[in-house]
Symmetry: C2
Subunit: 369 residues, 2 copies
Amino acid sequence: MKIKTAKKHFTAPLYLESGRILEPYDIVYETYGELNEKRDNVVVVCHALTGSHHAAGLYEGDRKPGWWDSLIGDGKCIDTTKYFVICSNVIGSCFGSTGPMSPKYPSSEPYRLRFPVITISDMVKAQISLFNSLGIYEARAVIGGSMGGMQALCYAVEYPHFCKRNIIIASTYATQPWAIAFNKVAREAIVKDPKFNGGMYDPKELAEDGLDGLAIGRMSGHISYLSKDSMQKKFGRNYVETEGLYELFGRFQVERYLDYNGYNFSKWFDPLSYLYITKAINIFDASRNYDSLEDSLSNIESYLMLLSIKSDMLFFKEEMEVIKMSMENIGKKELVEYHCIDSDYGHDAFLVESEKFEPYIKKALSVDI
Amino acid sequence: MKIKTAKKHFTAPLYLESGRILEPYDIVYETYGELNEKRDNVVVVCHALTGSHHAAGLYEGDRKPGWWDSLIGDGKCIDTTKYFVICSNVIGSCFGSTGPMSPKYPSSEPYRLRFPVITISDMVKAQISLFNSLGIYEARAVIGGSMGGMQALCYAVEYPHFCKRNIIIASTYATQPWAIAFNKVAREAIVKDPKFNGGMYDPKELAEDGLDGLAIGRMSGHISYLSKDSMQKKFGRNYVETEGLYELFGRFQVERYLDYNGYNFSKWFDPLSYLYITKAINIFDASRNYDSLEDSLSNIESYLMLLSIKSDMLFFKEEMEVIKMSMENIGKKELVEYHCIDSDYGHDAFLVESEKFEPYIKKALSVDI
């Protein structure tokens, strides 16, 4: 599999949904496989809240491959001998695309809280400008889970001719208060951490020590990514400090898991990016700027493959079913296919049990439209 | 209804499950109605994590009555013209019973982190000593929701002759990792708040300004007390700062709810009590010290009324069903009755839709045994 990582610089302004302008901006992206002559073998992969453009392959010296390496590669579900796969880091993130810690042109000082609020539509708009700059004007498919699924739905509604197949996994038509509440705990924990210092923290210091507030916020996120059953199977009531049951700070295994993942995370993710991206998730509503969700979905001319997860505790399967039913209500039944994946892994299932999604993704990639 | 609030001082040691000793200790309690001559009309009410002995009635100058006033009173479900109702503040709490901010005898300095770890069994043991000091050696019923339900179950297992009817609401046989994870976010947020200062905070300062970490922890708790459907009905995607959708810190209604309840809470609850009581909840396991849950439940000689809540996202109905099935497995089917209350309010339903529980509580209080 041929992997290429690159950064593209854009001097033309990006007009944001808020009315503000991002100018200039960078997008970091990665591609797998090769673009064919007809340029009709593009598969766009969209990442989730804390993901990056590094979706597949193993970097030299790394232990872990890209976040969806199980699905993307030669002969794999998203077959890089057939498809030219492209995944870009969303604007607002912290892996190379322009975000709150990028220099605010023409100064060399970071934006920090002066960075404009970004929406899912803005992320997609920036991706479209990237594709156009690469001479790509259409895609065979767009696929994404969680916030990636929001982007995939946004492509279908706002760029109905860009892409023929939209594969939307473990996502929603509009973020519900349950998910906003989990984000709230995280946002509050970040902002109230004195080391956050009103956004004026030293990023080098955080890369070494992490930010407690971001760690605590990540723990709140992890609850929503797992499920009661997956936690029960994975951790049960196992106690780590076996002798210390009656010590105030002795830990259950589930607590150690949250400690480990929370505090590690706070060293490799930027707290301002976390604030901006959760804001984008919170305000995502596919019906905004339309009279109704049905009105919005009536733009769609592509085929939607909707895959929910039975045990998803972040974006409940009922939310995905709303998209399916709305499509049916507006006479687009033949354009939508819905499956609920039977997994105990909760929201994270699209990452940890990706094999259960393969048959449906394969089908969606090859469906005639 | 006759209300009496009192504090009892105990000089005899309380031998704790951890092997440590609490000596001396106080218990604050409240009673409603009158003890009859036969002393057989006692109903013990057990409070939850942040509750207190003030279960019913309105204090002069207060706007809000006790936390279960809807159920307790003259002619109400728990009828104070018939029953002598008693509710005490659990040890470890912060409303008058001995807790981490009580003076460590013989000094006048508070225990703080030197306070011993308390278990649900310890709370119940202290209550039993209170009842005995009042000349009460048996109760008609013990009732409680959430952590109160853990106590009610503990009475049934550990004091099988004290009480004839145990009404256990929205609780569990053993705290599962899902609930421990929510507590973890809160515990971590408290401990990592610099103002917590390793437990050496100034309580007067916190009473005025609150502790951000406790507020954030409370927010995490609130998610688990509500449900996705109750949040959707209560808040939807309503935006409070109507003009500010594209401002980073504009708030959704659900965020304002969490802000309001979180930051208020952090002014009236003690962070060390929160740590000690969540620890007691985390380590609760009715089968500890027994070979199995069934082995533990085989002690029970009283009638159990188990009431779960369909939408409970903290202690799932399946956990209550484990108790029912275990009782059936050990041939105690005639001693257990189980109902799942159909409510969208989530865990909080036992407080906000208490009328739905009334018929079952009434039945349990009058059942012959």
